[in-house]
């Protein structure tokens, strides 16, 4: 991994941040406040999950980071340089998939990539064909490369969009919902591709509303809701911030609930043959013994690890729904 030059690192407090925003705000012309005072820090080498329900401002943030729209206020730095001012220097090192792929339907998949590569000022025309072939190979599209993009399926288009982001070695990959439209096999392939790229040292910034997708591949995550950042940090810490729940599986749910309350467990909930609760402070072995002593027939007993979804619900106090 490379060191940021000292002069660049000095300019913002988060050393080694590949993306750093300060009070980044976007109000669309219609008056919609899409992103509100965002302070985002993406560490170098991370696989960063950018989470949020539909309409929470993920794509708007990504568009500002890529210099496509101007922020209403606040600043954004990508690879240590201000955006959109340094777009010419920054963007060749960034591969992006923004709000789905966009292709020239009347060109073949290969010609689409040749065109996008020609638009990159740092792309060497002499290696263009080789690099395009390699990118197609990497996303498994070699066989369909000669087909008109109009005739591609949604998943094939998504793959071609990814290939365009991989035309050059990149320091940062920005992927806005990259598994959209992919079959389970395709999703797995993308996840392993992301891990592979991360292992090579590429920082991956991945937006998604699929919580388990983020949990599976990301080292870090940030959660957005209604344009505001709710939390960010390492995935392990985010999930650890929420305690797991004690789960007892038993046919005697009423008795079990009573005993758990006696043992100091809070928020006891009965669903079918499961009783779940906030685990009490005491040793859980004693809780289990108490259940057995009371004649509760225990089929299963354990603590379920908190998922990112639990963490999200705990943070927002609400579900993962679209805000109006």
């Amino acid at each position: 991994m490379e060191e940021l030059p000292a002069a660049e690192a000095d300019e913002h407090d988060s050393v080694g941040a590949v993306i750093a925003t300060r009070a980044l705000t976007k109000r669309y012309r219609g008056g919609q406040l899409a992103v509100d005072g965002l302070d985002l820090t993406v560490p170098e080498g991370s696989v960063f999950g950018f989470l949020g329900p539909n309409g929470s401002g993920k794509t708007t943030t990504i568009r500002m980071l890529m210099g496509l729209i101007d922020p209403t206020s606040g600043t954004a730095r990508v690879l240590g340089q201000p955006m959109p001012r340094a777009a010419r220097a920054v963007l060749p090192q960034v591969g992006a998939l923004i709000e789905g792929p966009a292709l020239y339907g009347f060109l073949s998949g290969r010609d689409n990539l040749l065109r996008y590569d020609a638009a990159d000022p740092t792309a060497d025309p002499r290696t263009r064909r080789t690099r395009v072939a390699a990118a197609l190979d990497r996303v498994g599209l070699t066989a369909a490369a000669g087909k008109k993009a109009r005739a591609y399926s949604l998943g094939m288009k998504q793959r071609l969009g990814l290939a365009a982001a991989l035309l050059q070695p990149r320091r940062l990959l920005v992927l806005d919902e990259p598994t959209n439209g992919l079959d389970p096999q395709g999703m797995r392939e993308i996840r392993s591709l992301i891990r592979e790229l991360a292992a090579e040292g590429t920082t991956v910034f991945l937006s998604s509303h699929l919580l388990d997708e983020i949990e599976q591949v990301c080292t870090h995550a940030a959660v957005m809701a209604q344009g505001r950042l709710i939390t960010q940090g390492a995935v392990a810490e985010l999930a650890a911030g929420t305690r797991g729940r004690l789960v007892v599986t038993t046919p005697d749910t009423g008795d079990a609930a009573r005993v758990l309350k006696e043992q100091g467990a809070g928020d006891v909930v009965i669903t079918d043959d499961r009783v779940t609760a906030e685990p009490p402070e005491r040793d859980l072995a004693d809780v289990n013994a108490a259940l057995v002593r009371a004649g509760v027939r225990v089929r299963g007993f354990g603590v379920e690890r908190a998922s990112l979804e639990d963490a999200f619900v705990a943070l927002t106090g609400e579900g993962f729904d679209v805000a109006g």
């Binding site: 060749p92 020239y104 065109r115 638009a119 740092t122 990497r138 070695p169």
Partner: protein, 298 residues
Amino acid sequence: MSQAEVVRRTGATEGARKTSPLWTFGLLRSELLTTFRRWRTLALLAVLAAVPILVGIAVKIETSDGAGGPGGGGGGPAFISQITNNGLFLVFTALAATLPFFLPMAIGVIAGDAIAGEANAGTLRYLLVAPAGRSRLLLTKYATTMAFCLVATLVVAVSALTVGALLFPLGDLTTISGTRISFAEGLLRALLIALVVAASLIGVAALGLFVSTLTNSGIAAMATTVGLLITVQILDQIPQLHAIQPYFFSHYWLSFADLMRDPVYWDELVKNLGIQALYAGAFGSAAWARFMAKDITA
């Protein structure tokens, strides 16, 4: 070694890459290829090529009927009556017939779609994060539109020359001023006229490009540009608007006929080119200002 490994080896560790010096031409080449490989572009050119064929055949049928001189009098200058004597006049007639509407309409489609069409398809955002650069992309688009102006005009001229040679005799010709010039000089003047006609379209091209930066719908931009074209053409016919007509981009279009005078009468030709430069400057700057500040949300 797999091809993926090749990519990884070619400089995964080097920082900012150098801009390759020939890049601008690469972008222009890609733009030209993309434009001229579209079916729509080819269809427009086919329509333009068909006009001289239809005019040529119509004149041929009319004269073989023994009706003598043609009636009506096509587009402006009375070139059409000379076609039966000399096929080269079909070039002038065809250009005069397509310049008021067919040619600028084709340019309006290409120019109007230039930015708005890419925005519509979403490809604009990927060109900009490539990063093509907004000024450079706009310049490339304008250069491509101008290239289309030239190609479209030449398609009309070449088609007319071919049809003219096939259906009518060729030879020395009489200028509007009544003097005789050789066929070779006539050809040279035809080429010059084609170039002037192509240059006459620069203003429409700039106007179309500006409209194209205003919207994210390619169809809307094309329709607006063609609508403006028709409006201006109509206004140019209304006598009460005499005072402002010299500023219409189409006002001096038919001045290209002056190249067939002997000596050439330059006054209106120069005025025409001046107007085109004015439109290119004004709407080019407006397009640039608009495109630089535009939020790319499509």
